[in-house]
């Protein structure tokens, strides 16, 4: 495989390259060859080989921003659903008392232990708005390079958005329905080229239709 066709869909166990490369994400070395460990897009960037998964659960890493929903109140904090393998605990040091189950919060993953338990910090409460779920592996596309896609979404819909690495997106504004439609396009076409352009033109088109409807 050479650099020209480096970005192709691979299945688990498929050879990514037989050349010596640094091992990036989602690849493993076996008898001198580099194999993919998941269904994803193979990438060879210079001297490293990796696979970007097309499916999969959220696997937390320290530093991730996540959007969670409070499940229940405990003595010192709240158990919170952050779409991880196990519920996470948010301390009351950072949150007010008596928050209702269902309250939306954001937090940063401070630490993940080897038992898949999360420690969260810098938590904030979000009032109102909507919460949608997106496949966690598609989140990078919702954000875009240097946040470019998110900028397009916010500008095109006028919504406030908070995108969690865990596949949860909080939105608030008068045009949430349009934002959700745009996110659905991103999720469906995440593996395709020129996505930002397509979303931009979709939002522009929808905006024009809305204008037209106003004067009709």
């Amino acid at each position: 495989m050479n650099e020209n066709n480096a970005k192709i869909v691979v299945v688990p166990g498929e050879v990514v390259t037989e050349e010596r490369k640094k091992l990036g994400q989602h690849v493993y070395l076996h008898q001198g060859r580099i194999y993919s460990d998941c269904l994803g897009m193979a990438r060879i960037d210079g001297d490293s080989a990796s696979v970007v998964p097309l499916e999969g659960k959220y696997v937390a890493q320290a530093g991730d921003l996540v959007v969670g929903v409070l499940i229940s109140e405990k003595f010192a904090g709240y158990t919170t659903d952050v779409n991880h393998f196990y519920p996470a605990f948010v301390s009351k040091k950072e949150l007010p008392e008596n928050l209702k189950p269902g309250t939306i919060v954001s937090a940063k993953v401070a630490h993940v232990n080897e038992m898949n338990e999360l420690e969260l910090e810098q938590s904030r409460v979000f009032y109102g708005g909507d919460l949608i779920s997106v496949s966690p592996v598609k989140i990078p596309r919702v954000i875009g390079r240097n946040g470019s896609m998110l900028e397009v979404l916010k500008r095109g819909t006028g919504c406030s958005m908070l995108v969690g690495r865990n596949g949860r997106i909080w939105l608030k504004g008068s045009n949430v329905g349009l934002a959700i439609k745009a996110v659905e396009i991103i999720e469906r076409e995440a593996h395709l080229d020129n996505l930002t352009d397509r979303v931009t033109s979709f939002l522009r088109e929808e905006g024009r239709k809305a204008e037209a409807a106003k004067y009709a």
Binding site: V11, V15, L65, V142, G147, A190, H191
Partner: protein
Amino acid sequence: MAKKTGSEETVTYVDKSGKRLDGRKADELRKIKVEVGVIPRADGSAYVEWGQNKVLASVYGPRECLPKHLANPYKAIVRYTYRMAAFSVPDRKNPKPGRREIEISKVSGEALARAIFLERFPNTAIDVDVEILDSNAGTRVAALTAASVALADAGIPMRDLVAGIGVGKAGGHLLVDLNKAEEDAPDAVDIPMAILPNLGEVVLLQLDGLMTQKEWEESQKLAFQHVKKVYELQKEALKKKYAVEGNSGDMEAGARAAEEGVVE
């Protein structure tokens, strides 16, 4: 065990022109179809038609392992459930899981476990459920074939896909992918196998019937040779889900740019 013991009847399992009862050659698989993502609710799913066999497989997880005492602090556990629908056999099957189904579930789950990087998901469970909707011999290997595609569809990290294949013997001939009529031969030997095609490893192997060591070694070669076709179909089905022209999505564009998501 519906073996016809009436020795008077002589069936020709491979005729002079090398054709089997259903017209296949000795080393020919039945027609196989693999589809991906057939159960929208599941984390991953697949449907396999293998001759008359029809199998649905779903994957949920890795997810919280309940009840908790089953969890392993070092790795994920695989819970594989193989079941046959009541209408999937000529007579009605009692829907209550039988001993055969329980044994198949156990060895099949162990076969899949080898393929998965379980140690990346300590304390979790990966639930794999397969339902046989129609059957005509070879359901457990069709089920594993579907299950492994469903695992890949769920994005679960794996060393390799698991491809199933049946080999064996009927009427003195070594055959690939026996159907029910062939499995009922008086001298039938049935060898379900599951193989990691790229790593060349055997993860499921059972045999019943009488066979010499030489015949076995020959059968194993046949299995390795023809399992490649099953694997190609699995691969093709998975890729088809994402096959679009000019395919080079830049998934890493905003990778880990979590900060950008915060509202101003």
